[in-house]
């Protein structure tokens, strides 16, 4: 009797503990955590004298985010390590006196420019593969598409990492984070959109959406090609005094990560609308077969918009803090700022509409899809058509 009671309480303890999240942490996760902790410790030790309050805050935020993201999405750990080691290899090659002119690896792979060109190539190929996948639903093609996208993302971030170092070479006073002109931010946009797409793909097991998201990335890559070969915007140039700010380094990349999420949500919205139409008209079409259920797409859309909204809010606040330092006011109603507010209000409207009953599925998909134009105008249109304080990204 006593043993049976002990037995029962033992099994209760087992049942209880099996649901805990700690059980889902693997040895690799622990290694990831330990590695990051040591790295951060070393960084703090080395830069202790140079850091000020906000640098510690930023470092701490990176640390927590990387640990959490890596554990939540294991593929990220490998990707992160690949990018960091390859970029460090490139930087090391430069530091021992190699240059793209005398070093094959630098010339064709690790140089910032070469990395970006590889990224463009891989992402264009991936787009084609996703389109073929949508038509054939061949698992093999699907895996190739995912693999090509990964390759593009890795090369893009490696290229950016090495370019960061390259901005200092020859002109130490030019050095800057590579997010200061249209060319550089488009690279960030392509790589970030593809990366977040990969995340949603693995999370929702929905490869067919690549045929909707990646064509836009391909369009951005095409634009990048034009900027490179016609406008020569890939040249490293010094930055004007207003851009030499601690806050810019955070504000700009975060904006583009938010845009990436909004873009994905919009294109999933488009897929939803077309899938819905295809299902309604008999259900025999390619889209009806290939696309995930409306529920999954709806969920993916709202996840992407939620993350985008959070990041966009933080990025806008960082922009305001920067403006307060550079121009003496948090908010100057300059066109770019105002359009950021419009984007923000638009998505706030979206989130509110979602929580009230009448708005569901198709209407929200339309809203999400139409928001693409608002976001694109904020990102590109303002620079092309309107003038103001933010005229850094001009063509």
């Amino acid at each position: 009797m006593a043993s049976s009671q002990a037995d029962e309480s033992l099994s209760l303890t087992k049942i209880e503990s099996e649901g805990r999240w700690v059980n889902r942490i693997s040895k690799l996760d622990l290694l990831w955590f330990a590695g990051l902790t040591v790295t951060v410790g070393v960084l703090v030790d080395v830069f202790n004298s140079q850091f000020w309050f906000w640098q510690y805050v930023v470092l701490g935020t990176w640390y927590v985010t990387l640990v959490a993201v890596g554990i939540h999405w294991r593929a990220f750990q490998a990707a992160f390590l690949t990018v960091v080691s390859a970029a460090l290899l490139g930087i090391w090659l430069y530091s021992i006196g190699q240059t793209p002119a005398n070093d094959v690896i630098l010339c064709y792979v690790l140089q910032g420019y070469a990395g970006v060109m590889w990224m463009i190539g891989f992402l264009l190929a991936a787009t084609g593969a996703y389109l073929i996948y949508l038509l054939t639903l061949s698992e093999k093609v699907g895996r190739v598409a995912t693999g090509l996208t990964w390759a593009g993302v890795l090369m893009g971030f490696i290229g950016l990492g090495v370019r960061w170092r390259e901005t200092y070479i020859g002109h130490p006073d030019w050095g800057h984070v590579p997010v200061t002109n249209l060319w550089e931010v488009l690279v960030v946009f392509c790589a970030a959109t593809a990366l977040f797409y990969l995340y949603y793909e693995s999370r929702f097991k929905s490869r067919s959406l690549g045929a909707f998201v990646m064509p836009l990335v391909a369009a951005a890559a095409g634009f990048l090609i034009w900027l490179t070969f016609v406008q020569h915007m890939d040249r490293i140039a010094p930055i004007i005094p207003a851009l030499q700010s601690f806050w810019m380094k955070l504000h700009v990349p975060m904006m583009f990560v938010a845009y990436a999420n909004f873009t994905i949500a919009s294109l999933v919205g488009l897929a939803y609308i077309l899938g819905d139409r295809s299902r309604r008209s008999g259900g025999g079409g390619i889209l009806a077969r290939a696309l995930p259920s409306g529920e999954v797409m709806d969920n993916m859309m709202s996840k992407a918009i939620a993350l985008g909204f959070l990041l966009f809010t933080i990025a806008t606040i960082l922009g305001a803090v920067w403006a307060a330092k550079a121009w003496g006011g948090f908010w100057s109603w300059d066109p770019k700022e105002t359009w950021a507010l419009i984007v923000w209000l638009n998505y706030a409207g979206y989130l509110h509409a979602r929580t009230s009953k009448g708005w569901r599925g198709k209407q929200m998909a339309w809203w999400s899809f139409m928001s693409l134009w608002v976001v694109t105008f904020c990102f590109l249109g303002v620079n092309l058509f309107l003038s103001g304080l933010h005229s850094y990204g001009k063509l």
Binding site: E16, L307, V321, G328
Partner: protein
């Protein structure tokens, strides 16, 4: 009785109004309306001088647009009214919901009410288990606790209900977000010069419209109080001078804001990259009080403002602060007369003696860095930049002729072996300059050219035809032998060619003189922006609260589980219910996993029990 009824009606009407104000539909409409209204100000350049708008729209539409407030949309009453309405609506919503949410959040034990009846929850499943109710509830508690639901047991008529929830602070996210938004909007409304607007409405303050009068003549009504709690103004200070006021632009005029100290600009400096692009703008300033005590001395740079007792000083812009220019003027219609010396400051005008012309000195630029290939004709210079040195611009006006604008470089510019005095000319503003290249002689001035011109002019018309060419060359030789005997033959040939093309160019030259720059005393003026804005701390905390609130709302959803157990003759009936505040799809997945686990433990125990019994 009648009183009672009207009171009731009033009450319910207020209720209706509050319901409307706090409704989600209104929130969505207001957010979208505000977004659309914001577009206007980005399409039309805001706060330009009124003359520009008149030119653009014509006087009729100019007046219409002015009255609607399109030149400063974000400060019009209608725009502020939308924002005010949003604040009102958000506050209503917040005030109505907060008490309920707080109560729900802080409830120590979940009361079993209809909200926790599993049969009414969004997800619900019925399981029958052969286990006795006691063991079954132990299992349920274990499974729920393992998944973070903090289960609580409640006895309820004949059975047991186990309730639990995660993310109980989700509602806090809602409260924080909306409270932060109210704080922001209130701060923004305040920042939109509400106090000044009120004063203007009451007539206590009236902006000055004349920008060309000294400070002492500005109407007293345009002066703001020195203990104004918040302001943002700009001022231009020339090097070596000081100011104790800043100017706030309002509509078509300005207001004067006194400062609690004097700002003296000691020096202004621009640092350049090797490409000629500005790298840094630095104002060395000194703050001192009325007694002349120095309070603070610092460099103000872009992105690095100076803060003194809550007042911040920013590097905003820079212009010429009235540099002194020394010039020489040569007359083309009397080239033999020699040069006349002129001297004036940038911004001033000079009457040219002996002519009907007046020169208005427009600007001075210390450095002119251009890509080398703009000057050198050889290829390969693509990435290099060269500094052409100082230049100045002026406008020549005369009563009888139309005006022209000139840009003149001080130093000669060498091109293909010959150095030139270079001057840009344009007769229509906004068009590109046409460049005049006059060759400079061995001493670097255009004196030799003027001598040659004079020699030619004194005998013009003597010969014609074939002999003109010979005569032109002959005169040239005479002039060179007399004034520049040291020139080599090669240099002479080059000079002659350049001189002839310059003479041909002069045919289209609009004025009868040329002015060269021989010296200058450079003086910058820095445009400084001065702000006092004590609410900054509020804004920063508001931002932090907003971000925290959004994070909680999105990533800590409230999830509720409720499991009702009822003893049956040969076991237990278990009804499992669950609901989530967001992401129903994901919650359904989690719920299905939890139910599957419950089923398996409740049934595997069943096997073991039978074994034990046997």
């Amino acid at each position: 009785m009648a009183k009672q009824i009207s009171g009731d009606a009033g009450y319910s009407r207020a209720r209706l109004a509050i319901n409307f104000l706090g409704s989600m539909r209104l929130a969505v409409s207001l957010l979208v309306l505000l977004a659309i209204a914001s577009v206007i100000g980005t399409v039309l350049n805001q706060q330009q001088p009124y003359e520009d708008y008149v030119l653009k729209f014509g006087s009729f539409w100019f007046a219409v647009f002015r009255d609607v407030g399109l030149y400063n949309v974000y400060r019009t009453n209608w725009y502020l009214a939308i924002v005010g309405f949003l604040v009102l609506s958000t506050s209503t919503c917040l005030i109505r919901n907060t008490p309920r949410m707080l109560r729900e959040m802080l409830e120590p034990d979940l009361v079993v009410g209809s909200a926790y009846d599993p049969r009414w929850m969004v997800n619900n499943v019925k399981i029958t288990s052969p286990l006795a109710i006691q063991s079954a509830s132990n299992m349920v508690v274990a499974v729920m606790r393992g998944r973070g639901y903090r289960p609580k047991l409640h006895e309820s008529n004949g059975g047991v209900v186990v309730t639990g929830r995660k993310g109980r602070y989700n509602r806090l996210g809602y409260i924080l977000t909306h409270a932060a938004i109210i704080v922001f909007c209130a701060a923004a409304l305040y920042n939109a010069d509400i106090p000044v607007k009120l004063d203007m409405l009451l007539g206590a303050v009236r902006p000055e419209n004349n920008f060309h009068i000294p400070l002492s003549e500005v109407t007293k009504k345009a002066w703001l109080s020195d203990n104004n709690p918040a302001y943002r103004g700009t001022v231009t200070v020339p090097e070596g001078q000081s100011t104790q006021v800043v100017y706030e632009l309002v509509g078509n005029g300005y207001l004067v804001q006194p400062l609690p100290f004097r700002i003296m600009l000691k020096r202004f400096h621009v640092a350049y990259y090797s490409t000629g692009m500005p790298k840094d703008f630095i104002s060395k300033i000194v703050l001192y009080n009325n007694e002349g005590t120095v309070l603070k001395e610092a460099n103000v740079r872009v992105n690095h403002p100076l803060t003194y007792h809550g007042v911040q000083i920013f590097q905003a812009s820079f212009v010429d602060g009235g540099s002194l220019l020394k010039m020489k003027r040569y007359m083309f219609n009397d080239p033999g007369a020699g040069a006349v010396d002129e001297q004036a400051r940038v911004g001033q005008s000079i009457n040219l003696s002996g002519t009907t012309y007046k020169l208005k000195l427009k600007g001075f630029s210390l450095d002119n860095v251009v890509p080398a290939d703009a000057i050198e004709s050889q290829p390969g210079a693509a990435h290099k930049h060269i500094n052409l040195g100082p230049s100045f611009t002026y406008i020549a006006q005369s009563k009888s002729a139309s005006s022209a604008e000139f840009k003149t470089y001080m130093q000669p510019i060498t091109r293909d072996g010959q150095s030139y005095f270079v001057q840009g000319v344009r007769t229509a503003f906004g068009t590109p300059y046409q460049y005049l290249f006059i060759p400079t002689g061995p001493n670097g001035s255009i004196g030799l050219f003027m001598k040659y011109l004079s020699a030619l002019q004194s005998q013009v018309g003597v010969n014609s035809g074939e002999s003109t060419k010979r005569y032109v060359l002959h005169t040239f030789k005479l002039v060179v032998n007399k004034y520049a005997p040291s020139m080599t033959t090669e240099a002479e040939a080059l000079y002659f060619q350049s001189a002839i093309s310059a003479i041909l160019q002069l045919k289209a030259y609009p004025v009868p003189f040329v002015v060269t720059l021989t010296g200058f005393d450079h003086r910058w003026a820095a445009g400084l922006e001065v702000t006092k804005w004590p609410a900054t701390v509020v804004i920063y905390w508001g931002c932090a609260v907003l971000v925290l609130g959004i994070f909680i709302l999105f990533y800590l959803p409230q999830r509720r589980m409720s499991v009702a157990l009822r003893a049956l003759a040969d076991g237990t009936e278990v009804i499992v219910g669950g609901a989530s505040s967001r992401n129903p799809y994901e919650f359904t997945k989690e719920f299905e996993g939890l139910v599957a686990r419950l089923k398996s433990v409740l049934q595997s125990q069943d096997d073991r029990k039978e074994n034990n019994d046997g």
